[in-house]
């Protein structure tokens, strides 16, 4: 189990962004769905060791991120693509990916090859020596994906990774995460239901800080049988589960 969360809560002032989440995730692709404000980003930040839980226990890759030495070890094996990445305009693609490869404390000898492999994997080979300020939004997103995968991480976290990617690139991204999910645990957080459907082995649905559904994509589809809300089977399941959870809260 690469992720073990036990009754994890995260509060900001009076707002409970994450409310008693317990989750155990092994290798494979885990899709984290939910509307904006459901707590997905806060959960992902806790997995990225950037945010500590307010209560509950977090174990990542078998280690406790509250302890500094273990946290550094986790971070060496982590790949993270935040929702708002930001970039250094004067850097080239290769320089940017290399910078974070070095900050991830990859052995210096392995860095050139890892950087080249990551850049080729996201299909940015022709742009390797181009400065980031000359790239489109979709390309910048792919640069972000490249830095996340450069150290061949065991735990990969993507927050809204397909923003700015055209349909063909999204297909490519799904193929990439399916491939990565063979060895690593890949968590993809998105509010675009179709994004994850085909690529995930498991999905979790968050609403108001709680995980209201967890299972295979087919099971989510089954939840939506008979519902009218949504253009695809997955969307119908998604809407049905959300509606049911809101009813529970109101009751």
């Amino acid at each position: 189990m690469n992720i073990e969360l036990t009754d994890v809560t995260r509060t900001f002032g009076r707002n409970k962004a994450v409310d008693g989440v317990s989750l155990a995730v092994g290798p494979g692709v885990f899709g984290l769905l939910g509307p904006n404000g459901a707590g997905k980003t806060s959960l992902l930040r806790m997995l990225a060791t950037v945010l500590p839980p307010s209560s509950g226990t977090v174990r990542l890759l078998g280690r406790d991120p509250a302890r500094p030495a273990a946290r550094t070890e986790i971070r060496r094996r982590l790949g993270y693509l935040p929702q708002n990445l930001g970039y250094y305009p004067a850097f080239t693609v290769a320089e940017f990916v290399e910078y974070f490869a070095l900050l991830k404390e990859m052995p210096a000898g392995q860095v050139p090859r890892a950087v080249a492999a990551a850049i080729e994997r996201v299909d940015l080979g022709p742009k390797a020596k181009s400065r980031l300020r000359t790239l489109s939004g979709g390309m910048l997103r792919r640069v972000g994906i490249a830095q996340a995968i450069v150290n061949e991480p065991e735990l990969l976290l993507f927050d809204e990774p397909t923003a700015g990617l055209d349909p063909e690139q999204r297909v490519g991204f799904r193929a990439l995460i399916r491939d990565l999910g063979r060895q690593a645990t890949v968590v993809v957080s998105t509010h675009l239901v179709e994004d994850v459907g085909a690529a995930c082995s498991e999905v979790g649905l968050m609403a108001e800080g709680k995980v209201v559904f967890r299972g295979a994509p087919d099971e989510l589809i089954a939840q939506g049988a008979g519902s009218e809300l949504g253009d695809s089977a997955l969307e119908r399941g998604y809407s049905a589960v959300l509606a049911a959870s809101r009813k529970r809260v109101a009751a």
Binding site: T49, V50, P68, L78, G86, E98, A116
Partner: protein
């Protein structure tokens, strides 16, 4: 790419690309990597905005102009400008909120706090060094007031101004706010001290002696130290690990 079935042309290309895309670190970076025992920290250091060549050249010119003016007109200037210049440089050393890829930097094994500390120390060191060189070159003009104070006495206010600049920059997440706070506070202090006349008493006006007492006045040592300590504490708190992104 389609070659013979048992040849992986993609792997071959990646190996070629690795060689032609690789960056050869300069000597400064390699030395830093050895000293700091971290190639990542060294790379972060040499990409500090206020340590890049254009900035360094500008800083050197400012100090040179200050020294030459001092030599020419007898007006002490190096001690006056050093703290302000350093404060501006420190504010642009990058820290939380100033780093566009900040959220990502917070998840790195080489912690953002360590990067900031290393960069700030380097900027402070470089500015102090340049200031000392300019001071040494203008030793002859410090005849009237204590030589030691004017030559190195500005190191303490420089540290205080830098701590203030960094603390504001990190707390408000704006390099320009930090630069303004550090340089501005120093200028206000100098003018206020000069207007009060310093040890010669009120009314002696903005004479050179009055102004320069802001580095020579021993009563100010403790306040400078206090500002430096507070600034450092604020920075330490604002960069604590796992603070989230608030």
């Amino acid at each position: 790419m389609n070659g013979p079935d048992d040849i992986d042309l993609n792997r071959v290309w990646v190996n070629v690309a690795a060689e032609i895309w690789r960056r050869q670190p300069g000597r400064a970076e390699r030395t830093a990597a050895r000293l700091l025992r971290s190639p990542g920290l060294a790379r972060a250091l040499v990409t500090t905005p206020s340590l890049l060549l254009p900035w360094l050249i500008a800083t050197t010119i400012v100090f040179a102009v200050g020294a030459l003016t001092q030599l020419g007109a007898g007006q002490p200037l190096v001690w006056l400008i050093a703290p302000a210049v350093a404060a501006v440089g420190i504010a642009y050393a990058y820290g939380p909120g100033l780093d566009p890829a900040w959220e990502l930097s917070c998840s790195m094994p080489v912690s953002d706090r360590l990067v900031l500390l290393t960069r700030a120390a380097a900027v402070l060191g470089v500015n102090a060094g340049l200031g000392l060189i300019a001071s040494a070159a203008t030793l002859g003009t410090h005849v009237s007031t204590g030589t030691v104070q004017l030559t190195i006495g500005w190191l303490l206010p420089m540290t205080a101004a830098c701590a203030l600049a960094l603390a504001v920059a990190v707390a408000v997440r704006s390099a320009i706010a930090g630069a303004g706070a550090g340089a501005g506070a120093w200028i206000i202090l100098v003018l206020a001290h000069g207007a009060a006349g310093g040890p010669a008493g009120a009314g002696s006006g903005l004479s050179a002696a009055a102004l320069s007492s802001v580095v020579a006045d021993a009563n100010l040592y403790l306040p400078y130290l206090a500002v430096a300590a507070c600034g450092a504490a604020i920075v330490a708190f604002a960069t604590r690990p796992q603070r989230g992104l608030l």
